[in-house]
């Protein structure tokens, strides 16, 4: 890869995308062997694999852009908590199937929009990763959207759980659209999309499905999360401990 002028913001942007995929992929993998039915067990494991595959490509790319010799494994397993740039939403515990599905729906709908726009990124490698990932994100959004409707418009119990999940997760979606200097810089360079139009597009995608699911969308509150700035929730440390233990115990271990 040619060493063009890569801004620190550009590297951070790719890292953030990689961390979102990595951390949500890790969370979804916790369902393996525990899902309510076998079909969903396989679906969650498959989606986790897709996300970890995306994370591998993105972290490899971030490592090359950075040019300090860090590969995907070093970035995935050897950073400390404040150096991860994922959205807080991705690291929250699975809790139950409803919360897992509502989160997948909110996140994969957002990611679908983002990949669509990143397909025309001025960063050719990122555009290639986006063209690959969009195909997977579409299936994830469709799968989760089906479940949100089925749970929300289902029994009293499934509705209560889906509504509880939406109430809990909704405040964290504000972070999707909190533009940072990183977003502004990459947008100016044509690497990423303008942040301002994403929220409207996302709501146009998400709100009709939530309405069909008979779920009430909570009002926006002043609550903000800051995972993409490296300030994580109390759950992140526990997730990292489990994810990193092999590399921390046996440095350089390979499969």
């Amino acid at each position: 890869m040619t060493q063009q002028m890569t801004s620190p913001e550009h590297i951070e942007y790719v890292l953030r995308l990689g961390d979102n995929a990595l951390i949500l992929g890790q969370r979804l993998s916790e369902w393996c062997g525990h899902a309510p039915v076998l079909e969903e067990d396989m679906a969650l494991a498959n989606m986790s694999l897709d996300l970890i595959g995306q994370a591998r490509m993105l972290l490899t790319h971030a490592g090359r852009l950075e040019g300090r010799g860090r590969d995907e494994d070093q970035l995935a397993f050897l950073r400390t908590e404040p150096n991860y740039r994922n959205l807080t939403l991705c690291e929250l515990p699975n809790q139950d199937f409803a919360r897992t599905m509502v989160r997948n729906f909110l996140y994969s709908s957002f990611q679908k929009l983002l990949w669509e726009r990143l397909m025309t990124s001025s960063d050719a490698e990122l555009a290639a990763i986006a063209a690959k990932s969009i195909k997977e994100a579409r299936y994830h959004a469709q799968h989760a959207g089906d479940w949100v409707i089925r749970l929300g418009d289902g029994t009293a119990e499934s509705h209560a759980r889906a509504q509880g999940a939406l109430d809990y997760l909704w405040p964290y979606t504000a972070e999707f659209f909190a533009a940072t200097p990183v977003d502004d810089t990459v947008a100016a360079a044509g690497v990423g999309p303008a942040w301002s139009e994403l929220e409207t597009a996302w709501e146009a995608l998400v709100l009709p499905v939530l309405a069909e699911a008979t779920l009430t969308v909570p009002a926006r509150t002043p609550f903000r999360s800051y995972g993409k700035f490296g300030r994580h929730s109390e759950h992140m440390g526990h997730l990292l401990a489990e994810m990193q233990i092999m590399q921390r115990t046996y440095p350089g271990a390979q499969w």
Binding site: M42, A131, S133, K135
Partner: protein
């Protein structure tokens, strides 16, 4: 040293590790074969980002070409253009059907898709009935969905279009 034409012939016999009835060339993942003075350079593209078969495929390609006298064989993974099920050859789709996997139907979904239960009616690869129901969007691998035929009552897999 192998010629490019001969190398393609060798690759036609390298099976996909998950679906051994079709070859890596029929699957459409071998994008380029270049013979150089040093040996062969093969470009492959992954099906899904996290497909665990990707590394096995690269190894089988390398082994087959080296065994056929390909010299130094390098395998490069290239992402763009992204793989699509439209690249699976027509004869290979028939082989999938005979193997019990409904081949991807129609074109890969592009553009906006409605989010709801898909009432798609697929023909059962065993009895041909279109009275089928989707059990799960994801099957034993990321590339397949699980269906059941309501006529012969057998479950079957569907190779999802991407």
């Amino acid at each position: 040293m192998l010629t490019e034409t001969r190398a393609w012939e060798v690759l036609e016999a390298v099976p996909d590790p998950e679906i051994p009835v079709i070859s890596v060339t029929e699957l459409g993942i071998v994008r380029e074969v270049v013979a150089t003075a040093a040996g062969l350079h093969v470009v492959v593209t992954p099906t899904y980002s996290g497909c665990p078969a990707t590394e096995v495929i690269a190894q089988s390609i390398r082994d087959a070409l080296v065994a056929a006298g390909g010299g130094d064989v390098t395998v490069e993974t290239r992402l763009a253009p992204a793989w699509t099920t439209d690249w699976i050859t027509e004869p290979a789709k028939e082989k999938l059907r005979a193997y019990g996997i409904a081949p991807p139907g129609g074109d890969a979904p592009v553009g906006p898709q409605p989010i709801r239960f898909v009432p798609k009616k697929l023909a059962c690869p065993r009895c041909g009935s279109t009275d089928s129901v989707r059990l799960s969007e994801f099957g034993s691998t990321a590339c397949k969905a699980l269906y059941r035929c309501r006529s012969c009552l057998e479950p079957f897999e569907y190779f999802k279009p991407i």
